[in-house]
Symmetry: D2
Subunit: 402 residues, 4 copies
Amino acid sequence: MEQPQQTAAPEAGKPPLRVGMVGYAFMGAAHSQGWRTVGRVFDLPRSPVLAAICGRDATAVRAAADRYGWAAAETDWHALIERDDIDLVDICTPGDSHAEIALAALAAGKHVLCEKPLANTVEEAETMTAAAQAAYVRGQLAMVGFNYRRVPATALARSMVAEGRLGALRHLRVTYLQDWLVDAEFPLTWRLRKELAGSGALGDLGAHIVDLAQYLAGEQLAGVSALTETFVRERPLPGGPTSGLSAAASTGTGQVTVDDAALFTGRFTSGALASFEATRYATGRKNALRIELNGEHGSLAFDLERLNELSYHDGTEPGAHAGFRRILVTEPDHPYLDAWWPPGHGLGYEHTFVHQARDLVHAIAEGRQPEPSFADGLQVQRVLAAVEESAEKNSVYTPIAV
Amino acid sequence: MEQPQQTAAPEAGKPPLRVGMVGYAFMGAAHSQGWRTVGRVFDLPRSPVLAAICGRDATAVRAAADRYGWAAAETDWHALIERDDIDLVDICTPGDSHAEIALAALAAGKHVLCEKPLANTVEEAETMTAAAQAAYVRGQLAMVGFNYRRVPATALARSMVAEGRLGALRHLRVTYLQDWLVDAEFPLTWRLRKELAGSGALGDLGAHIVDLAQYLAGEQLAGVSALTETFVRERPLPGGPTSGLSAAASTGTGQVTVDDAALFTGRFTSGALASFEATRYATGRKNALRIELNGEHGSLAFDLERLNELSYHDGTEPGAHAGFRRILVTEPDHPYLDAWWPPGHGLGYEHTFVHQARDLVHAIAEGRQPEPSFADGLQVQRVLAAVEESAEKNSVYTPIAV
Amino acid sequence: MEQPQQTAAPEAGKPPLRVGMVGYAFMGAAHSQGWRTVGRVFDLPRSPVLAAICGRDATAVRAAADRYGWAAAETDWHALIERDDIDLVDICTPGDSHAEIALAALAAGKHVLCEKPLANTVEEAETMTAAAQAAYVRGQLAMVGFNYRRVPATALARSMVAEGRLGALRHLRVTYLQDWLVDAEFPLTWRLRKELAGSGALGDLGAHIVDLAQYLAGEQLAGVSALTETFVRERPLPGGPTSGLSAAASTGTGQVTVDDAALFTGRFTSGALASFEATRYATGRKNALRIELNGEHGSLAFDLERLNELSYHDGTEPGAHAGFRRILVTEPDHPYLDAWWPPGHGLGYEHTFVHQARDLVHAIAEGRQPEPSFADGLQVQRVLAAVEESAEKNSVYTPIAV
Amino acid sequence: MEQPQQTAAPEAGKPPLRVGMVGYAFMGAAHSQGWRTVGRVFDLPRSPVLAAICGRDATAVRAAADRYGWAAAETDWHALIERDDIDLVDICTPGDSHAEIALAALAAGKHVLCEKPLANTVEEAETMTAAAQAAYVRGQLAMVGFNYRRVPATALARSMVAEGRLGALRHLRVTYLQDWLVDAEFPLTWRLRKELAGSGALGDLGAHIVDLAQYLAGEQLAGVSALTETFVRERPLPGGPTSGLSAAASTGTGQVTVDDAALFTGRFTSGALASFEATRYATGRKNALRIELNGEHGSLAFDLERLNELSYHDGTEPGAHAGFRRILVTEPDHPYLDAWWPPGHGLGYEHTFVHQARDLVHAIAEGRQPEPSFADGLQVQRVLAAVEESAEKNSVYTPIAV
């Protein structure tokens, strides 16, 4: 039986950008939404095509292909990479497989989008970065999926910092607070196992805030001093397939081998001081990625739980009328917003993936390095490694390797 | 040249629901996003197909079809309605054409989704409602697009009221504040002309808040006392095609023939008191649809500018620990949320159209009347008519016709 | 036994301003705090002396005098007024006795501070205003205690409106929400009896918001359309002495003869539209006096529950960086603040009475009419009367008498 | 000329508590307000008398005595301490003189209230604590002025933690952010000189947050890892007498010898992780003492800029209705509130000093150790010393001495 076509072809005349995606869990769903939507909203130089999706379970990946709108399904990522009808490999798997897939994809001549963290170790990230730089010379582009750079409010914040509105930075305070591990009976999913996830809150949440802080500041961390902790060291084994941040419990228990929380302070190269906290134990905080920057001329604050807003204090105004203002980042002259809805009609989490896809398509069409690059991802990895090293060495201040 | 297929066919075995949409401006874009996404996120009994889109300008509608993913384009809505390959007509035009199109679509045996307000007059709405009720007997379903019932937070609020958490209602205070007319040079778009829009802030914004207030309260307004005003009575004529809430100015001016703002108080059938305000002159308020309900046992408050949040006060708690709590409406057991992202990963404005599509598909598959029905839309129209009548009669309290 | 002196004499050389206060309940305590503190914080031309306090119960008034720091106690307000050692009579009784006491005090040559509402009827207020105007010629000054003009944030708001920062006003929305009557078992205190209180939420809360709105707008209401309601018409009789907003219940019930809530819309003389709501049934809202003003160039918003903050939107800024800003009204160049604490060290409710005392002392020392005058209080009374008239006449729009 | 008495004697029959205060700047004004007001609001077992105030400048201290209501003025603190008519010495001087004055006062048989930080060094604090403990045996009581324990919201938070509402603590995040040094031209006041102030943001702001965090947690810090920084190392010399946080500039510059900011992480004895930040460079943050506690059963959050509010998340509630609630801490059953105003009528900064006075008077009347004791102050000093040591030693984790 022939199926009705759900949606028409992309705009005639535009060259396609054929995407093959590995992974179909939480990130796979989010990236699918991004690829499927981006050409319907933005004017793009190339037309993204959801060519093939890959996962190990044949039934599940076929269902995911149908659900998310991918034309084909593969069960072996090697096969996906070998396909001639794919231009870009989008890697949405856990961190332990990023390096192998990305290296193979680059070797096969594909562009690559790799979910964060770039890798589970600095060594892997270095190898990937070298491969990406070599591939760049051949005209292939590689990007890391730090999607929170693509919230309109964070993009606006970056432009305001770049314009000099904050002046010399003095302070950054950055948290990423979640609470899904507060329940000691929550099972031992892959995110709690070092061999798969690399680290816990640090690699998952900490990677996001390190990247975002450095991006907004426009400079890098020079060194860190860190504490990490695993509050609940033994958890029930999961009873079945897990997805996203939820899972069913089972019999038996296993060791949690990653951190539950990581706190660190640091110095930026300019001398600004920063504090970071990543945790899955902040009861009541669901997705509180919060960042505040204080500069000599002004301050900015952002909270992912209110992602359509940016808080700005203009320190150059007369004190009597100054105050933190809530910019509703939904105006047509805000980043990405000219393609969306009228003022005040907010966007959501998933739009970051649409914007990420938009920016990547433009970069590929123009043959220009997209940001964040693998080198940016490697630098974040080095910060995370320094955090782990400091935590192991009694919190001693640990410079970031260059 | 054959185009690559952007997305695969919907899930095999599911009967399609073939949609034909009239209109391709702001609402057309939003509805397209809803229809295109809903089957990718929710498990549906039927698979929506974006079959055809209709608009008067052949070039523009063809571009819209390509952009938004509609298989075919029509320039005459009569032709759209006559197509055999369409099950549902989705009407996204200005209010002056709702009645004619909806009546024709119902006569042609189609299901109908009609944007709000249902019509520009009570008479039209009555005719449409009668037609919808007749069509219902024939198995056709009709619904009005009051999409703000489908924000997860408002759906949660409704369920909490229905559970009796507020007890007897005492107060509702409801506003819909925008500011895009503050600039006296903003041109005279169709929304400012009575012959096209029917009314101004009242029909556009007031219709939303009347419907939402009655929906949340679970009861209807019994009467109203109203003031309306047009602050700027003459505006520049628009210089070219206008879309959404923006337009370029031109030479010459014209009369604004609709209200800029409407305020009214009212009594609900239970005796609860309510105040309403709809305006396009609330400087700095972009989309402030705000509603608060106070009952003898508790209160609820919502603000569309922070649409992922619901504020709840449980009046039965000990005073020492009571307070308005901010429920982040992103948990898997919140309305619509089990299909989306993990807690704290917020949704946006456009998701209301996905949810609207979801609920309508289910209703059609089950042959059950979707809400809000045309009768609900008619009742809102009667409230708006009473508002206009009261405003003309020196604000005298005016009962709502039944 | 001679008592130790708690505090020293006021600053040498300054002429005293000897205050006699009638009433020692909630308002009496608040005014006492104002008089006792003002000279310790502000530089004043005259030194306030808490000379005598008056109340009917000899034991209670003696205890109040000791507690609040009044030198003498009287049980008959006529005796208080006849004392030679009193310059100013401060009237803190329920509204039914305001006229009689104020008229006698003015006749006796005293300055007068009278709590709001000025009177329970327009007629009384007219008589009082005429007497105050006659006394003014004799060098006596009279003022009404609308203390919310003396919150630093509202005083700042007034100055910003006066500077033209909002431009032509379009909208005011004003509420005063409390919830202490939600419990149907709360007893029938004097505030619920028309013969003592004059009216309910209208005179108590509505008087405040009418005055504040007109003060901030710098113009008067031209007419109103109103709804009032008494939700619970019978309540237990109070079991003993009541104070403030609390009371013990007793046996027996009585009729509530005042309004529980009053809603009204109105037009200001400039054409701005306004909505007002005063209620004691807004579950969870404790003291939510909220006012927002929208003008063509900007907006201001205030909430008494966060009284150290003023929200301001500057509509003349570029849209990309505009937003409502939270001004923390604690800077030395904010009204009244140079005498208090460093920035960010907030004030409280009672400080409004300190500021009221400060402004009145200055006005008396300079022989200049303090604001709000009795004429201002009369005008508020006329608005309240129009509200009651409109509510009785089916909400018909009712002009304010001039 | 005999001056009129501003206020009457305290209540007959109550023994007086005669206070002598050293210092009359910002803290002197605040303590005066506390002593003068406390007996007018609370029922006290003893009646505070403002007996004498002491400062080096005879004219200035005399003016302060008159202004703030102190009966006598002294220019030598030794003389003050020797007075027979003083029961309690209240020390409001900079930290470098705390030890000498407190030791002398204790030796003279006085009760002592000493402003925070207890001393500028651990050694001084140890000596003071030993002296206080010896004096306790003689019936004298000593207390440190960590006034932020006496905000009703923090006192409520403490009681909620003590009731077990949070369960095992996981995280504390604590900041005290001000911005008065952002301007590099702000002069070199005593607070920026190590010989007078001991340290900068650390001793001034950090002492407050260390005490408050330990108080709320009900446990102590076990160790810390710290970074400190002085952003602007040279500043103009002040041109004249400075007061509070403001000063006029002069010619010439001097070295800033204290920290501008201090960041540290730490572990509590239970294993909870904490982060602290004290700074005077957080542009736009005026007095942002913020603390959040996350426990396995719930969370609490407080912000001094909104001191009448406490935010509470009850993690034991069903997720669908859970959320951080804003408790308006103004109910009669909240700490200290039964003596103040009706619900929603907020308090201010200065009320913490009234409450501090209240609690101290009760402790003295009952002969029981008030909290925080000098031992508590010493422990805070040890934390601050560990912070400084860690900062000097490359941020290495440094245990708190016991």
